[in-house]
Amino acid sequence: MAAALILDAEALNAVAHASERPALAIRARAILQVARDEGALVRVPSPVLAAVCPGGPRDAPVNRVLNGRGLAVVGLGAGTARRAGALLSRAKMGSAHAVDAFVVATALEFGSAVIATGDPDDIARLSSGLRQIRIFAV
């Protein structure tokens, strides 16, 4: 099964706003470069869009990087959503962390995955013991 780089909201925002905030995008660009070199898929779980798309013209930078730049949004099926629920329960975390759980549950759909995140502590709690997942803080 393919390897994947999964982007959370902070990672996607960093790339989308790279021109305005270049220093904040350096680490996100680095992990994208490695993903490209490794032939990995780059995926954005659809719930992440809730955190980065306030609507209207402010969505433009995110829309731009999701259009023909090799970053694809992956939809959330019922199975993945249920897996996210189980991850939250296992980590004793509430639904306030649902988007983080969706990110980890999406990563589990791949043979191995790196999660690029601005919230490595919560992602680490949710993915504790899952050897196929690694974390890269952006």
Binding site: V34, L41, G70, F136
Partner: protein
């Protein structure tokens, strides 16, 4: 399958490659396999162009940051 419909393509590939893929996915799984491979390759190409564009406008990613990112990637 995509809601945009399906296009029929006729392509030629080396015999050994065709044999290996048919063995892996069977004749009925061939279209899906080829579509995934095409999408993957296209995305990889697009990502490479995007990153090159960022390098050109913002400057290259520092080597030390790339080293850290490589260290985070799982070994094959």
């Amino acid at each position: 399958m995509s809601s945009q419909g399906a296009a029929k393509l006729s392509v030629s590939v080396p015999n050994d490659l065709a044999k290996a893929v048919r063995k892996k996915v069977g004749a009925r799984g061939l279209s899906g396999f080829v579509a995934r491979a095409m999408r993957h390759e296209l995305e990889r190409e697009q990502l490479g162009l995007f990153l090159a564009e960022l390098d050109e406008t913002l400057g290259p990613v520092p080597t030390r940051t790339l080293v850290l990112a490589r260290a985070a990637w799982p070994r094959r």
